[in-house]
Subunit: 230 residues, 2 copies
Amino acid sequence: MGEILSAGSIEGVVRKDVPERVISRLPIYLQTVETIAATGQTTVSSEALASRSGVSPSILRKDLSQLGRPGRRGVGYACAELAATLRSFLGLDRAQSVAIIGAGRLGSALADYAGFRGRGLRLTAIFDVDEAKIGTTIGALTVSDLSELATWPDDIDLVVMAVPASAAPAAARIAADAGVRGILNFAPTVLETPDSVRVRQVDLASELQVLAYYSALDDNAGTPVEEHSN
Amino acid sequence: MGEILSAGSIEGVVRKDVPERVISRLPIYLQTVETIAATGQTTVSSEALASRSGVSPSILRKDLSQLGRPGRRGVGYACAELAATLRSFLGLDRAQSVAIIGAGRLGSALADYAGFRGRGLRLTAIFDVDEAKIGTTIGALTVSDLSELATWPDDIDLVVMAVPASAAPAAARIAADAGVRGILNFAPTVLETPDSVRVRQVDLASELQVLAYYSALDDNAGTPVEEHSN
DNA sequence: TAGTGTGAACTAGTTCACAGCA
DNA sequence: TGCTGTGAACTAGTTCACACTA
């Protein structure tokens, strides 16, 4: 993907096109700087912020310099201001509305998983197709029929897909038709969506299999494996 | 690229130095090729496999060529053979043993989330520190006290961390001390671990915030976004 | 003086295009 | 002939090093 040259260009809006790689690090910085601010610290250096975010200081400075509101040379970044800039840049000023599709165990767990409130996200609805689940309550929300998504009164910006792989493509189509802007997909399937819908994939088994690779690598470490020191 | 002397090929499996970027795509290929094989198809071209995996054909060919067991020119890849090679390469021949730390809603949901069995992973134990949860049953497993992890009879290769952010660092240390090889961390904290423990981060809020960025971008398409002149 | 902002150098990753083999 | 395997060209991402400024 990538290839953004269409939207907005008519107006002559020169959008600095920030790579997704960078965008995906910003939430971590936000999280970190909020944690630091909560301790009462008012400024933070790139070095401290970077190490607590798990990145290098230079990459952190490059990333933050891209969002226009700079730090102060010789001082560092003002925590509160930086957090506000990050929130605004990520589009979290108005809380994005999130719906969960799939009211099974995973969907229910995600529904009250910490981190919607206070992270610029507002959980708006939970959908399912299972008659037995529709009408039941999860946290403060009642499970609705997925067919209601299309005409849902509150605009839904983002969807968390927590359904089996077999049901995911159909549900994704419904979400896309309803004008949803992004899907966070927990089902182990590659979703095909129109360009207007961004998909991010989270696959438990894939992640574990990546870890399995390195685990197995170490198993064989008795025999001379690559691993060279420097 | 530092030339690596992977001469130690005493055990048949010689693993070159494959970038993590590549490793993290292999589970997707495995998933895809298994799906294709299940339809009865015996061979598959790089183009078909790539498009169903959401990558370009050239990158797929480069990736697969790195694992030594090639496809057949003019034909494609033999599904069954490719799947076996991928499984073996990822270290899934002997099912890796996985433990979940945290028997809350997320932990319980992940415990019976499809994809352990038949994906080369074996869920071995669930731990918690909460007296009220220890001894209760989740699926086929009984929740054990986290302190038992260190002396757990069955070796634990990988851990899924499903605890609050505040509890994660301590739990990670316990896991690292117990010789765990990898941690899949759902808590929104950067974990510091010794080099022997690989961490992969999955943060619901971060992922949604990335999607929020693109969602907000579209909202502002046409009106000047916060932008500074160069 | 301390610590950011940033061009330049470097490194990693992807795509291209075609040689080579079933 | 068809499709993989792969070097070469290209592109993206990271690190370095230091000018610059509060």
